[in-house]
Subunit: 320 residues, 2 copies
């Protein structure tokens, strides 16, 4: 059997990560190697049509690039932010894009002319970490990317748990400070109002005035050097994260928590006190491993690529 002519080999697949600001696409070879990565602004501020146009253009360009290599794209996986109904292939809601019930799977399939899987960015990242990253060997684990806010994919037996309405795992919207800062979600005092890039920067500036570091990584760097205001802001990040993860452990009982996203880049500045504070909060619960994600910014594309690969494999299984 030639690896190019049977569905079972997989061929080349395209994984697209449709994020709030950037749409990123990667071609993956039959052995999982990343062949090329392209990205461009999502154009979310120009409305839903502009986002769909960006997405479809990236897909077409990547297909053309793959065909030029003599290895046409066999399937496409799209992992989108917002609320995604994977079964129906619908982008149900995104505040960033201002869209509701966009039939994203159908739109991409019409353009691409190959099978398309639609997934959710955080859950797709969880799939990638489960199969290829820090979640390997864990039947039940949480993948928790911390970027603008805090997300979570609840991974059970290698598959993400979506809940009844594809909204499970909204760790960033647990209320930890009742009556606290308003959150974009409509609640007050959510985890994401304290743990997340913009919150960290805002809270540091509230203490020190304008100027200073340009992002949360800069605040983390100052905290590492002992800057008292940065230490104060960082301590609250760790405390709130430990508090919310303790609740998640009590309800999900995972054997590992895999932290990814920008803030996890702070390394032991985050992990060391977080492990300590989480352990201190647990009593009868089993303390999970708390470890960094292994796939970093590529987890979304990679997870989308895996969804595409699964489509091909299940088609091959049905034919075989």
């Amino acid at each position: 059997m030639s690896p190019r002519t049977t569905p079972a080999d997989g061929g080349v697949v395209l994984g697209v990560d449709l994020g709030g600001t950037v749409v990123k696409a990667a071609l993956f070879g039959p052995d999982g190697t990343t062949l090329t990565v392209t990205h461009r602004p999502t154009g979310g501020r120009r409305g839903p049509e502009a986002v769909v146009a960006s997405l479809l253009d990236v897909v077409s360009e990547s297909q053309a690039a793959a065909s030029a290599r003599g290895t046409p794209v066999r399937a496409v996986g799209v992992a989108s932010c917002g609320i995604v109904d994977e079964r129906a292939g619908l982008a149900v809601f995104s505040a960033a894009f201002g869209w509701r019930d966009v039939p994203l799977r159908r739109l991409v399939a019409e353009r691409a002319g190959v099978p398309v899987a639609l997934g959710h960015d955080v859950r797709a990242g969880g799939i990638a970490e489960a199969r290829l990253g820090a979640g390997r060997g864990h039947e039940v684990f949480l993948f928790v990317p911390i970027g603008t806010g805090v997300g979570a994919a609840v991974m059970i037996g290698g598959r993400p748990f979506g809940g009844a309405h594809w909204q499970a795992g909204e760790l960033g919207h647990l209320v930890v400070r009742p009556g606290g800062e308003p959150c974009g979600c409509g609640q007050r005092g959510c985890v994401s109002t304290i743990v997340g890039g913009p919150a960290v920067l805002r809270h540091y500036r509230a203490l020190t005035g304008a100027g200073g570091p340009a992002d949360a990584a800069g605040v983390a760097a100052l905290a590492r050097k002992g800057d008292p205001d940065a230490v104060r802001v960082w301590s609250e990040v760790v405390e709130v994260l430990a508090e919310s993860l303790a609740a998640a452990v009590t309800l999900f009982d995972p054997s590992a928590i895999v932290l990814g996203g920008g803030l996890a880049g702070a390394g032991e500045l985050l992990f060391a006190p977080l492990r300590e504070q989480l352990a201190a909060r647990l009593a009868f619960q089993v303390m999970p491993e708390v470890r960094p994600a292994e796939l970093a910014y590529e987890a979304g594309c990679l997870g989308a690529g895996l969804l595409a690969r699964d489509l091909l494999n299940s088609a091959a299984g049905q034919q075989g």
Copy 2:
């Protein structure tokens, strides 16, 4: 095929609910009808051996009763409180019984001489509600029995989610009042220190002195009549329950919450304000149905009986 001679018919099965104070056993006919129910004190205070002896005696007696009817027990399901490893057949831990790693499935199988399934009381109740009760038609729902404390079974596709260490769903041990009353679990301010029979009675007596109602149902009855102290205690029950369920909805995204146990017997005194307060706490989350369990005190036995029935069906499937 005769219903008595093939495994597929199911025959008579025994479901045993091993609770903190009472062990209850029910014989179920092939059509699921309850034939007889027997119960006795668990004898937990006399130590692990006494509990096992009570359990084995109830099993033997029920088997003898079934044989006397001419319909011998074909399989036994045992649903135990505490931490239960269903795969290994181990009763891992129970504070009430003072036991660790008791090979309960093997012990019962040796006595009974028929296939035995070991389950967990709350998860078994969830299975019963999923198949025969208030959870029917819900792919993802929470079964939340409120008795001495608050438990939860997270039901996904008709099956309970156990977590990595069979400890998922410990809703009663979410910390809602940091630094609050000590809980038997080792934490402080758990849901179960406020929501649960003993807590309700204790808090009412703390306001009013000794005397008054003998149990939480009595406090609920006074609250219904407008007794200010009872109303105050009851309001806190509803508030804390709404708070913890809001967290559970944010993480699990269920389409229904099925409340059982003694406190759910308060009916609309509980359900009306609980629905209102839960809805008020949710923003983007989808408000689940909040409804009473349908199987009441029999859910545990029934769930255990279903585990036994599944054993027979899977054996029949393998033979057929």
